[in-house]
């Protein structure tokens, strides 16, 4: 496997005048469980569509498992499993029939994985898809993706509609079956708690751009929120600052490392540092995508 499972460079997708993805730079390490986070309309699903050949980029390039998305679509699809956003399948087919249909595409298909998933996730295999609940539909998608034994799983909100019990079962299954095997999971979600539960990397996108890409461990250990009051405070997002915003007379900084040194620097510039606090993933996310007055001088 190449060093990175997914690499995008300046990826752009426009729909008319709207840029759904706007110069996305992303690096998903091989073997990682990568949480792809963003608000509604941030460009997550469009990015996934481009990676899988469902949409064509207007500019930029991307490689999946070392393969070019523009030239090697079928080879990528052979090696990647996908769980779609809407979880729609063929109404008249049962889950067992979906297995019969889907397995024919994949030489490495695992019937053992099908049995294990069906048992753990309590999937009614003989019920027609149209009669399944939203949660069961999501489970069937997950089963089909896991049984492919793919090198990379691309999951677009895979747990949407699942109850907490099954949600945990799905996440555990992913962690054991895929991540435990050294395979890569690329995981788009709104649920920050579940991202924190299984991911080791996160990428936060907004308005089609990557705002932050980091190890979750680094965020927990080193990322800090620094709040300072004062005039003429630094405005840019130069390292180690990854986000800066002003709220009244207070400036808020998300600092990736050396927060105390940064606070000391602000103090030396005449600012009054009121808080240096550790950040949860949720807080980092909110600070990054917050639509507030930018920290202008």
């Amino acid at each position: 496997m190449s060093e990175h499972a997914i690499v995008t460079q300046g990826l752009v997708k426009r729909y008319g005048k709207l840029a759904a993805v706007n110069g996305l730079e992303m690096r998903v390490p091989g073997g990682a469980v990568y949480g792809f986070l963003g608000r509604n309309g941030a460009g997550k699903t469009t990015t996934i569509k481009m990676l899988l050949g469902l949409a064509r980029p207007n500019a930029g390039s991307a490689r999946v498992l070392g393969l070019d998305i523009a030239r090697d679509r079928l080879e990528i699809l052979r090696r990647v499993a996908f769980v779609g956003e809407y979880k729609v399948l063929y109404d008249q087919l049962t889950a067992a029939e979906m297995v019969r249909f889907t397995r024919s595409f994949y030489p490495g298909w695992s019937d053992a994985a099908v049995e294990k998933c069906a048992r753990l996730l309590e999937i009614p295999m003989l019920q027609e898809f149209r009669k399944l609940s939203k949660g069961n539909r999501a489970k069937v998608w997950m089963l089909l993706a896991l049984a492919q034994q793919a090198e990379l799983l691309v999951l677009d909100e895979p747990t949407a509609g699942l109850d907490p019990f099954i949600n945990d079962a799905v996440l555990n299954l992913l962690a054991e079956e895929v991540a435990g095997d050294g395979r890569t999971i690329f995981f788009s979600s709104h649920h920050l708690a579940e991202v924190e539960q299984i991911c080791d990397w996160v990428g936060i996108v907004d308005e089609g751009r990557m705002l932050l890409e980091a190890r979750l461990e680094d965020i927990r250990e080193h990322y800090r929120l620094v709040i300072a009051a004062g005039r003429d405070l630094p405005a840019g997002k130069t390292a180690p600052v990854v986000a800066a915003a002003r709220n009244g007379q207070f400036s808020r900084y998300v600092v990736a490392r050396d927060a105390q040194a940064f606070a000391a620097q602000l103090t030396s510039q005449g600012a009054s540092v009121t808080e240096v606090a550790p950040l949860s993933l949720r807080a980092v996310f909110i600070e990054l995508v917050r639509k507030e007055e930018p920290c202008l001088p």
Binding site: L54, R56, L74, L77, L89, D91, R100, F101, T102, F105
Partner: protein, 274 residues
């Protein structure tokens, strides 16, 4: 072998998509055909026992039923064409299907070929009823084809005396012509369903195209005496009275149109984004 199993899996899925529609149409063909044969045979003498004027009406019934059935089969092509791969978008299953490791060209042509085969089978089964033997007395010795005369063919054309029973011209010629006509309807609807990403809208568009093209054809012919190819007329005129090498060329031409329509559908499908 892996390629074969992939084809089988997808073919099976296409069959499941179209199965109920196909079986309903086939059942209708069998019921109507069986009724026509029953009336022609009159095995229990029920029709023979009726007054003479009613017997005449019963004689007309098989012709009306079987002839109409044969000529309405192309419209079954529209029904099957509206179940093509374009409906994957309407149903929301396109993102699943198009993320399978198979070329879109393969997906489209496999689905098209299955529908075309179903169409051909329907035409073939319908035409088998024309071969049902009829004993002497009521319609004259021979087969049901003796009295099958599509209403659009000029009355002066007799169908029964040109070719011997069982000859190519007698059976396969009309089958080929009807198949071609059904395939044109099918391929046009298939294309429109792919373009519109919806079976219902695709059927509407296909009907619109045929009505518009038919109007142009009629206008040019009646007002300017210019003839452009128009498949229902071209093909129906070939179907029963004569089938020779010139007819074969026309059939081949319309089959090429079917392939061209499907190629356009392929180009559209290959470029489709979700």
């Amino acid at each position: 072998m892996p390629a074969l199993s992939v084809a089988n899996g997808y073919l099976w899925k296409c069959w499941r998509d179209t199965r109920s529609t196909f079986l309903i149409i086939l059942s209708a063909v069998l019921v109507v055909g069986a009724f026509g044969v029953y009336v022609a045979f009159d095995p229990f003498g029920w029709i023979a026992a009726k007054p003479v004027d009613l017997q005449v009406q019963w004689q007309i019934a098989p012709q009306a039923l079987l002839g109409t059935m044969l000529l309405s089969l192309p419209f079954a092509g529209m029904v099957l064409g509206a179940l093509g791969v374009g409906t994957e978008f309407e149903r929301g299953t396109a993102d699943f299907l198009l993320t399978r490791p198979r070329s879109r060209r393969h997906l489209l042509w496999t689905s098209w070929a299955l529908g075309a085969a179903q169409m051909a089978l329907l035409v073939l089964v319908s035409n088998l009823f024309r071969l049902a033997p009829v004993g002497p007395g009521r319609f004259g010795e021979g087969s049901l084809r003796n009295f099958l005369r599509p209403p659009t063919v000029h009355r002066s054309v007799t169908l029964s005396h040109r070719y011997p029973v069982g000859s190519f011209e007698d059976f396969l010629g009309p089958v080929l012509v009807l198949c071609t006509m059904a395939l044109v309807f099918y391929s046009l609807t298939y294309l429109m369903t792919t373009l519109a990403r919806s079976g219902r809208n695709g059927t509407g568009l296909a009907l619109g195209v045929m009505i518009a093209y038919g109007s142009v054809f009629a206008t040019l012919r009646n007002w300017y005496d210019i003839r452009i190819p128009f498949f229902p007329v071209d093909l129906i005129q070939l179907a029963f009275p004569a089938f020779d090498s010139a007819s074969m060329a026309i059939v081949a031409g319309w089959l090429a149109v079917c392939v061209a329509l499907t190629l356009v559908a392929q180009l559209s499908f290959e470029r489709a984004e979700i």
